[in-house]
Amino acid sequence: MTELTDLGIADIRNGVRAGTFSAREVATAFNARVAEAKALNAFMIDTPDHALAAADAIDAKRAAGEDLPIMAGVPIGMKDLFCTVGVEARAASEILNGFKPTYESTVSQKLWDAGAGMLGKLNMDQFAMGSSNETSAFGNVISPWRRNDGSNAPLAPGGSSGGSSAAISARLCPGATGTDTGGSIRQPAAFTGISGIKPTYGRCSRWGVIAFASSLDQAGPMARDVRDCAIMLEAMSGFDPKDSTSLDLAVPNWEAGLSSDLKGKRVGIPKEYRMDGMNADVAAVWDKAADWLRDAGAEIVEVSLPHTRYALPAYYIIAPAEASSNLARYDGVRYGQRTLPDGAGLQDMYAATRAAGFGAEVRRRIMIGTYVLSAGFYDAYYTQAQKVRALIARDFAQVWDHCDVLLAPTAPSAAFGLGENSEDPIAMYLNDVFAVPASLAGLPAMSVPGGLDSQGLPLGLQIIGKPLDEQGVLNAGLAIEERAGFTARPAQWW
């Protein structure tokens, strides 16, 4: 018999609805699996009681003959960026040590309303700043994957949603929340052989999600396959009057709309993404994916996004600028850690608190953001970056005349080893070169597994869609998923 923890979101929900197993059995199985996976360091806080209470509520509903919601009985992992009542939310930073929100983020509340429960809070890069999960103040997450060379070198699960990606690929949870500012859902999904979608900016409320860069942050689901992503995205999305940038639109029934028949669709291959010295395995899986989509009925066209190479530098101005301001509230006055040297005045307390509380990468980005906004530099950096951003968005807008979705790699390589990139910030930033353009333009984009590289590590394929066309993205993802036949999973070593 299949282990309950091998099931995905759709299977669990369907099984609970059908009475094949109870929600409590599912929650119990996952709670146990989380408890025995401490070596991965994916979960920072376990909340087994939350998962059980949610499961019991679903079992009671079923017993009462009520209709069960779309995530009935599905226990999930919650990225530490989401505030949930009474459970510490630290954004994997010391500065929020001890902070227990008295409020529930809109997205997590929607998930509970959809019948999900929480297994625990997932580790991540501190304040979502990072691409390898190495900036967490609570230790690295270790990817469950290992290279096929027998070296056992610990690998990065990607970032910033590295706890989420590691937990899903290790079958600690069938799905988890992620947030994506410049690839933080897609890149870790690619590194760990799972799926994840960042919806159109404004689909998921940002209320109650600890902010990194407001104009880029967007929550989304991470799960084992496309259908599970569709279900969970539907649960997470929806208009929220408490978020001024929330889109006042009905949530489509994406699961029902899934179809891998791409007849009449055109898939664009952006030529600027084919960079000099590109990893051969990445290039190969990208070519294969184009064939798969052609096989699914789509026409493949080459398209141009001329400002692609400027996306990353623009991002590394805009995101730090917003972050430098968004993170000003962590000052040791109303919550979190306070560092008060003897005889310190208010401003000294701020400086000491923030020096002690923020990790090195967070401090670095706050400094960059402060610099690019400061007097005399604002126009040269920030205004210029926002203009380039407008050009990048315009590139995408023009490309939709020629195709319906874009196909590209998610990341320039498979997972790298922990510590391999941490000395050179720019080398680390380059990991997000394919992911960042869609973030700057607020477009829906997802990563699905395409295969393994020569080291036996997963490679992700990215589909970028028009604004609000999550369905088109999911459908192309499904077409790849059906043809890629990706069944690899990491052998359990933890």
Binding site: G98, F99, K100, T102, Y201, G202, S215, L216, P241, S244, T245, L247, Y310, P313, A314, Y316, I317, S324, A328, D331, V333, R334, Y335, G336, Q337, R338, A344, G345, L346, Q347, D348, M349, Y350, A351, R354, A355, F358, R364, I366, M367, I368, T370, Y371, V372, S374, Y381, T383, Q384, A385, Q386, K387, V388, R389, A390, L391, A393, P425, I426, A441, G442
Partner: protein, 88 residues
């Protein structure tokens, strides 16, 4: 650099500042390639996805939650937050 650290309210020793300078300059040098983009006639982006700002009704819907507001405070007394004494 000192000024930036001070503006950002992040205490840094001179040694820390010195260590950060080359890295900082490296990143700034890298982002400065944006300067080569011709942005003539381009407005800076303000809304990622076309959307209009909604206005709230003028109704009191919040407040009277002092316990929640103060619940996580490192120092709170008599209903106030406490900070080191400020001399104005």
């Amino acid at each position: 650099m000192k000024k930036i650290a001070s503006l950002a309210r992040i205490a840094m020793t001179d040694a820390e500042i010195e260590a950060m300078v080359p890295e900082f300059n490296g990143i700034l040098g890298w982002v400065e390639q944006l300067g080569e983009v011709d942005v003539t006639g381009i407005e800076p982006m303000t809304a990622v996805i076309p959307n209009t700002l909604r206005l709230r009704e003028d109704v009191v819907t919040d407040g009277n939650i002092r316990d929640k507001v103060l619940a996580n405070a490192p120092a709170a007394e008599h209903g106030f937050f406490g900070v080191p004494k400020v001399i104005e």
